[in-house]
Amino acid sequence: MKRMAIAILTLAAAIEVFGQVRGGAPGAGAPAIPAGGAAQRGGPPAGGGLPGAGGGQRGGPAGGGPAGGGPPGGGAPGGALGGGRGGGARGGKAGAPFDMTGYWVSVVGEDWRWRAFPTRGDYGAVPLNQAARRIADAWDPDKDAAAGEACKAFAAPSVMRVPGRLHITWQDEQTLKIETDAGKQTRVFYFANLPENKTEDYQGSSKAEWDLGNAGAGGLFFGGGGAASAPSGSLKVITTRMKSGYATRNGVPFSNTATLTEYYDLVKEKNGVEYLILTSSLDDPTYMSQPMWTATHFKKQADATGFIPVGCDGK
């Protein structure tokens, strides 16, 4: 009888491992961006796990922790915006759990003062260090414009915070494009390999993947059995190779060593209004003492109304 019990437990563990292998790395927060892109991420569209294995992944390790289901009840996620949920990841248009294409308008309901009327020296709660403070205190937008550097305030870490509109489209099956009317900037998110030999610029190089939160990953002793979650997840984008610019509109600098981690989530109100929520973390060892977190959101528009591209110089 003991042997039978051990055999059952062994089988259960094997099923768990098999499910995790199929589904990528359940519980692996902030997984490394695979060099091979979506095709190598593997896993069925549901993100992995055996059929019915939808539960038990809550509170798994995250932030670069080891793969596998952690102890239930809230592990200790590691990285600032590390994963934290046990889903897998898949890439490109075909793997999108939601459709974020279309026109979006920024709703400046949060951090209004900094975003609508940036003034010199008003860096609020930005965790800038002394070196950054010196630069921010000397911020002079006219001087930037004269030097042809007006777009420093429209770099990847700051452009999404500028009141304006976005036009989001699929450039191809593996590339998502965001055009901003404020500053006429274009951000390109690559689900496949990043282009080689791309020089630094204000928008940097952005690697994207779908972070499929609830899919897959059962717990010990046969997870799941409850209602299966609908396909869901976030768009995770990591941007590097950025040319040094401003993290805020009022001259708080970021360096070319900075990494911008972003999550895009889409929610839909019962009245049909759609919001795109952007959670971002700017890690800059040169100018910041800790990651700079921001939350920003956009409301879906029916059409291109109001999308009027204006350059960084206001023209």
Partner: protein
């Protein structure tokens, strides 16, 4: 193998027992509640703090007259410009709670945990606890419905949640009047707040959408973040007792700025070098078009000045009337043995017990038979006493039927038995003398037979002290309030409603000052449980059940109106 079974059995029993012990009283599945989800989705458990930028931009640290990014309407702007920070010296404002989503913007610690049914392990609710004001929210996940409109509101409100993929979406109703921003921008008690919670590693991002038909021209949406704390901060409480802040100040003083006389209205805009029009908020300040709206500085300045004063005709009150209009009487227990009966005009209160039923007011009388039936469900004993808080027909219209449906055995065989019609064989109706007089003058049916003039009328009934206080010169010269002392429920009559301004009838002896004094009388008898929530409950003449917070707001409103006029 038997040993293994025994161990599993012990573990299961122990787990169930522990689960039962830690479950919050209000979290147990109730009638009408379904099973919660088996798979909860994202785990939000843990200790959290607001992201620093949120603290900078959205807390009480907000400047006076900093309303940018809020689609407030003219009424809300005037409200906010009339609000001085010294309002917080008023007793009832010192410990007011935080409504959601403002709940999340306090510079404090937060704890999130889940409550699970001990027998099925299904998710019953998420619990959100905030240190400041000790806000304690329960988000029911088991499908239970929201309470009826006439139920009490709290600063936490009533929340239900559901998972939409990764996202926990929470809908909250039954909120008290609180702050959108604690610099005077109000959020009304008619607001509905939908919050979307997404977790990414050590952060939770929240998008709150506030739909407030009273103070906003369109829903206000704003995102904010919580950051996970790796260690429990061990700081969770917030003891707050109000006290005298300004010694010797009378209770009918409520600091406020008169129209156009807020000396700080330009301070924020000037210091930040922004157009006043932008700082005064409104729909356009939420969107990129703001830049165009303030481009013409002179025009923007004129527009801003116009917005600092009321314009156009007086707005109609938007306060919703929660009274059911379905032709039925709806009973709701308020506290102890005291119930609200809603559905027939003015609110009816009834206290039941071993001696019988004591009613306060009788409604319009159109549904009197159903009122009798509703009371019969609560008590097999007769209606012995009826107290009228006013003469008005929507409070006394049911007197005749309800009196004859009852009986007052305390009069049978006494020297009162032949003194008036129905003595002993019908309920006894009690009121202040002037209410009896007004009913007789207006030939209203079944006026009170048992009156008093200046002093309180008191009874110890059904094991409870019941006091009836005359309120001279409030809405009339004959108003009364009734205090059930054990249940700690005050029935305010038309002195206080949640649906409209008071009908002060000066021809019948009413006055604004008398009305304010009556409200302060009520406030002198109320005690809250914590931070202006709960404790002494108030049944208004019309509208939903409340506690002292709403009475204080009503008092404040009347004082400010008095000062303006």
């Amino acid at each position: 193998m038997k040993t293994i079974y025994r161990i599993f059995g012990i573990l299961l029993v122990a787990g169930a027992a522990v689960g039962a012990q830690i479950q919050a009283p209000g979290a147990a599945p109730e009638n009408g509640a379904g099973l919660g989800p088996m798979v909860a989705g994202t785990d939000f458990s843990g200790s959290w703090r607001p992201q620093q930028l949120v603290l900078e931009s959205q807390t009480a640290a907000g400047d006076l007259a900093d309303f940018g990014g809020i689609p407030l309407n003219d009424a809300a702007r005037i409200y906010a410009l009339s609000w001085p920070a010294s309002r917080q010296t008023v007793k009832q404002h010192q410990c007011m709670g935080y409504v959601t989503p403002y709940f999340w913007y306090a510079p404090a610690n937060y704890r999130i945990w889940e409550e699970r049914d001990p027998f099925t392990q299904r998710l019953v609710s998420w619990r959100f606890y905030g240190q400041i004001a000790q806000g304690d929210r329960t988000v029911y996940m088991d499908g239970r419905p929201h309470p009826p409109a006439y139920a009490p509101h709290t600063f936490e409100g009533f929340s239900t949640g559901e998972y939409q993929g990764n996202t926990l979406t929470v809908t909250t109703t039954h909120l008290k009047r609180g702050w959108i921003k604690a610099n005077g921008v109000p959020q009304s008690d008619a607001a509905t707040v939908v919050e979307h919670y997404v977790r990414h590693g050590d952060t939770i991002t929240m998008l709150a959408v506030i739909d407030d038909p009273v103070y906003l021209t369109e829903p206000l949406s704003k995102a904010s973040m919580l950051v996970r704390m790796s260690r429990d901060p061990d700081a969770w409480l917030y003891p707050c007792d109000d006290s005298e802040q300004i010694f010797g100040r009378k209770s009918d003083v409520v600091p406020n700025h008169l129209f156009g006389q807020n000396p700080y209205s330009r301070e924020y805009a000037d210091r930040r070098k922004m157009p006043l029009l932008a700082a005064l908020g409104g729909r356009e300040t939420m969107y990129p078009e703001l830049a165009n709206a303030v481009r013409d500085t002179a025009a923007a300045e004129n527009q801003a000045k116009a917005r600092m004063m009321p314009s156009g005709p007086a707005a109609v009150s938007h306060a919703p009337d929660p009274t059911p209009k379905d032709g039925e009487i709806h009973a709701m227990r308020v506290s102890g043995d005291v119930y609200l009966l809603a559905g027939d005009g003015a609110n009816i209160a009834v206290q039941v017990g071993p001696q019988g039923a004591l009613m306060v007011d009788t409604g319009t009388g159109k549904l009197a038979d159903k009122v009798v039936a509703a009371i019969a469900k609560l008590s097999a004993k007769p209606i012995q006493f009826i107290v009228n808080t006013t003469y008005r027909p929507d409070h006394t219209g049911g007197n005749a039927k309800l009196r004859t449906a009852g009986a007052d055995p305390s009069l049978t065989g006494t020297f009162f038995s032949m003194q008036f019609q129905g003595a002993g064989s019908a309920a006894t109706i009690i009121s202040q003398l002037n209410t009896q007089t007004h009913m007789m003058e207006q030939k209203l049916a079944a006026p009170p037979s048992d009156t008093f003039i200046e002093d309180r009328r008191r009874k110890y009934y059904n094991g409870e002290a019941v006091e009836v206080f005359p309120m001279p010169n409030a809405t009339t010269d004959g108003d009364s309030v009734v205090h059930f002392r054990r249940a700690d429920v005050i029935v305010a009559g038309d002195i206080f409603t949640t649906t409209e301004y008071p009908h002060i009838d000066t021809k019948l002896g009413g006055s604004v000052q008398g009305e304010i004094d009556a409200l302060n009388f009520i406030l002198d008898r109320t005690v809250y449980v914590h931070d202006e929530d709960g404790g002494t409950m108030i049944i208004p003449g019309h509208g939903r059940i409340t506690d002292e917070w709403e009475v204080a707001e009503y008092r404040d409103m009347l004082v400010i109106i008095r000062d303006r006029v």
